[in-house]
Each structure stands twice: as C-alpha cells, then as structure tokens.
C-alpha cells in the first residue's frame, strides 16, 4: 500500500470532507452526544481487540521495555516541545507549558486510524500497544504542570490539597483511560472465543464507524482552525507541523533500541507524534485555567491531527518498515 492509497482511503476522505465543509462555514454538524457515543465505541473496540491479542501472547521483557519507554516519552516530550515553543514562538510560559503537555500525551483517534492503516497495509502489530497508549495519556500532564508552575508559587497556593487529589482522580479516571484499559482486560478475559460473539458489533463495522466519526473530527478540526488560526502566528503553526516529526523520531529511536517489529514501531511513532485533544485539554482547564484553549486546541486538533492523518501515518509506517522491516 502506498501513500496515495492512504490519502484516498474513505477514512481520510471523510475527514477531508468535514474539514472543507467547516472551512467553508457549512452549518452542518454531527450532534456532540452522538459523536461522543461513537468515540466510546471506538475505544471499546480497540480495547477489546488489543485484549484478545494480549490473551494469546505472553508478556516478555521487551514488552516491559516498551511500557517503560512510553512512560519516559510521555514525561519527556513536553520538555522538548516547551523548549521549541519558548524559543521560536511568542507564547506565554503557561500557554507553552499547556501546549507542550498535549504533545507528550496521545490522540487515541490518530492511533485508531494508524491501526486501521496497518491492517490495510497487512503489517501486523501487537495488542498490548493499546495499553501503551493508555499509559502515555497522563505523565505528560504532570510535566506540563511542573513547567507552568516552576518558579511561581503564587497561584499554586490557592489550589488546596483537596483540589489536587480531585484533579488526579479526574485525570486518571477519564473516559479514555477507563474504557481503553477496561475493554483491554475484558477482551483478555473473553479471549478469541468470547470475542467472536461481539465481533459483528465491534469488528466488522469498525471502519465504517470510523468514517462517520472522522467526518465529525474534520468538522471540529476545521472549525477550530477557522476560529483559532488568527490568534496563532506562523511559529506555533509550524510547531504543529514539525513537532510530530520530532516526536516520531524520538519514538522511533526508542523502538529501534528495544528492537520491536515494524508494526509496533510504527504505532510507537504514531503515539509519540500525536497530540491529545481529549484528556489533556480537560486537565488544563482544571489545573491551568489561565492557559488559552484556542492555542492548544487549534494546534493539536486543527494542525497536528490533520497532518498525522493525511501525511504522518503513511510516513511513519513507511519509515518503520524501512528501519525495522
């Protein structure tokens, strides 16, 4: 499968359809509650699938190495992103920190699209990477808070101990972590046999649901872009395009050092390259309310997400096949 065929896959085309409709200011929308239901479906489906595959293979040292590397990537990438933003763009400290947090964390829909692309390309990957995705969601948030708080104790006074505990709970038990890890465990318990009865709902229609969901993602990305790009200068937008490449490179390095196969390598690159737009924005509204959502949402959803869907994923798959194939 070549890059063109990814670009012309229905999943990408429906995303593009939504993107263009929003940029042309079409009044169309997918109801938010319907799209949220589809998002839960997608997370359950990849969780279950990952769990079934995990039930078939033993966890070895290499797997633990990947979990370790993923945790480090999530903690570490925000520092790289923060440095890049502070040097190149005029973003304030708190906006730079909040944005950096997004790039350490992951976009589950990008991950789903990558799994679909691998499946189409016939490249196998391991089920446990779903758990890796879940693990990478939150460490980046801690890095972002540390970056933002560094050297000003003032506003952290206000946050009581109580608030911190609550923040931790809300972040660690957010929908994508609960559903991904829960479905993973359930899939592992159900195994191949138990999953068979669920596959007419969770497997066969998967790509179709993804198309419908991507139409909505395109609308959201386009609307975010249209409303937010004026606020952003050239430097932050460039950041949204080169940061995924930096993330993917660092992720690739880790994967090659551990010695994982091409499919898993591609997915690790995708996770490192993608930016959160679900878990991290919600955490930032709670913990860094002064940060400007139109900065980080426009970048992660409006710039990096489309870039990864259209160009990043086929590129990472191609590179991973080259290095590790």
């Amino acid at each position: 499968m070549n890059a063109l065929s990814t670009l012309l896959s229905p999943v990408v085309l429906f995303f593009a359809l939504g993107l263009f409709a929003a940029i042309l200011r079409s009044p169309m929308s997918v109801p938010q509650s319907f799209a949220k239901g589809l998002a839960i479906y997608l997370m359950m489906a990849i969780g279950l699938k990952g769990g079934v595959e995990m039930s078939k293979t033993a966890l070895d040292g290499q797997v633990f190495a990947v979990f370790g590397a993923a945790t480090l990537l999530s903690f570490g990438l925000p520092f790289v992103a923060y440095a890049a933003l502070r040097i190149t763009s005029g973003l304030s400290k708190v906006d730079a920190a909040a944005t950096a947090g997004h790039y350490g964390s992951i976009s589950i829909v990008t991950f789903v699209a990558a799994i679909e692309a691998l499946r189409m390309a016939g490249v196998p990957s391991s089920g446990y990477l779903v758990a890796v995705a879940a693990v990478m969601e939150t460490p980046a948030i801690i890095s972002a808070l540390w970056l933002a708080m560094r050297g000003n104790k003032a506003n952290s006074d206000e946050d009581s101990h109580h608030d911190r505990g609550e923040l931790a709970r809300e972040v660690l038990l957010n929908a994508s972590i609960v559903v991904l890890l829960g479905a993973l465990v359930i899939g592992a318990i159900a195994g191949e046999d138990g999953f068979e009865r669920l596959s007419p709902f969770f497997k066969a229609p998967f790509q179709g649901v993804l198309c419908l969901f991507m139409l909505d993602m395109g609308l959201n990305a386009g609307r975010g872009l249209r409303r937010g790009w004026r606020k952003l200068g050239v430097a932050p937008i460039a950041f949204g395009l080169y940061m995924p490449l930096i993330g993917a490179s660092i992720g690739a390095l880790c994967g090659v050092l551990i010695g994982i196969g091409p499919g898993d390598l591609a997915l690790l690159m995708v996770l490192s390259a993608s930016a959160s737009y679900i878990a991290v924005p919600a955490a930032m509204r709670l913990a860094l309310p002064e940060s400007d959502p139109s900065v980080y949402l426009t970048l992660s959803l409006g710039v990096t997400f489309p870039f990864n869907i259209a160009i990043g994923i086929p590129l990472y798959i191609a590179v991973a096949s080259l290095i590790s194939g």
Binding site: S29, V30, P31, Q32, A35, K36, A39, N155, E158, D163, E166, D216, L219, N220, R223, G224, R227, G228, K231, Y277, I278, A279, P281, A282, M284, R285, L286, P289, E290, P293, S294, L297, L301
Partner: protein, 104 residues
C-alpha cells in the same frame, strides 16, 4: 395564601470542567439548592465557541442558577468571584421574589 419573599438569584456562567469546584463552594456556603443548565455556544475573550468543537467537553460552558437568601449568597458571591480571578466566566446577581420561602 402566597407570601412573597425577596431573595437573590445568582447566575454563574462557567466552564464545565470547573463546575464541580463552583458547586463545592456553593455547598460549603450552605445554599439549599442550585440548578445547572448546559450552554451550547457563546462568545468571549474575542473567540466564538460552540458545543461540539471539543469532544472532551473541556470548552463547554454551563450556567448555574442558585436562588437563596442574601446572607447565604453574599459570601458565596465573594468566593466565586475569587475563583473567577484565574478562570473565564461571568457572575451576576439580581433580586427576585420567590413563593415557598420555607424551603430555601
């Protein structure tokens, strides 16, 4: 026989992730009740938003209505006001008449 009683009507427009903190303030001040209404769109700080732009609901706004006595609401106003120092949102208060004063 209906007796009329002057109360305050507090209306707080706030981001939905911060709702829980605002509710905790109200509870702490001893109000007897409140009601939360979802907003679907808005404008502020020079950007428009609308529900659905962000699937995590992190940019959704909600409107909290709380009817109560001035003695209870004034301290709540003070504390919510402080909360809005770091957050986006709007707080207003007006005088209303309620029927059924015994309950709140």
């Amino acid at each position: 026989m209906t007796e009329d009683h002057k109360k305050l009507r507090l209306e707080l427009i706030i981001e939905s992730p911060a709702l829980r903190r605002a509710e905790d303030v109200l509870l702490d001040c001893g109000v007897t009740g409140w009601t939360v209404i979802p907003a679907m769109a808005g404008f502020g700080g020079k950007t428009r938003w609308s529900r659905g732009t962000d699937i995590s609901e992190s940019t959704d706004m909600v409107v909290v209505i709380c009817i109560g006595d001035a003695e209870v609401l004034e301290p709540a106003l003070e504390r919510l006001h402080k909360m809005l120092d770091r957050r986006i949102g709007v707080l207003n208060v007006s005088e209303v008449r309620v029927l059924r004063p015994g309950l709140f």
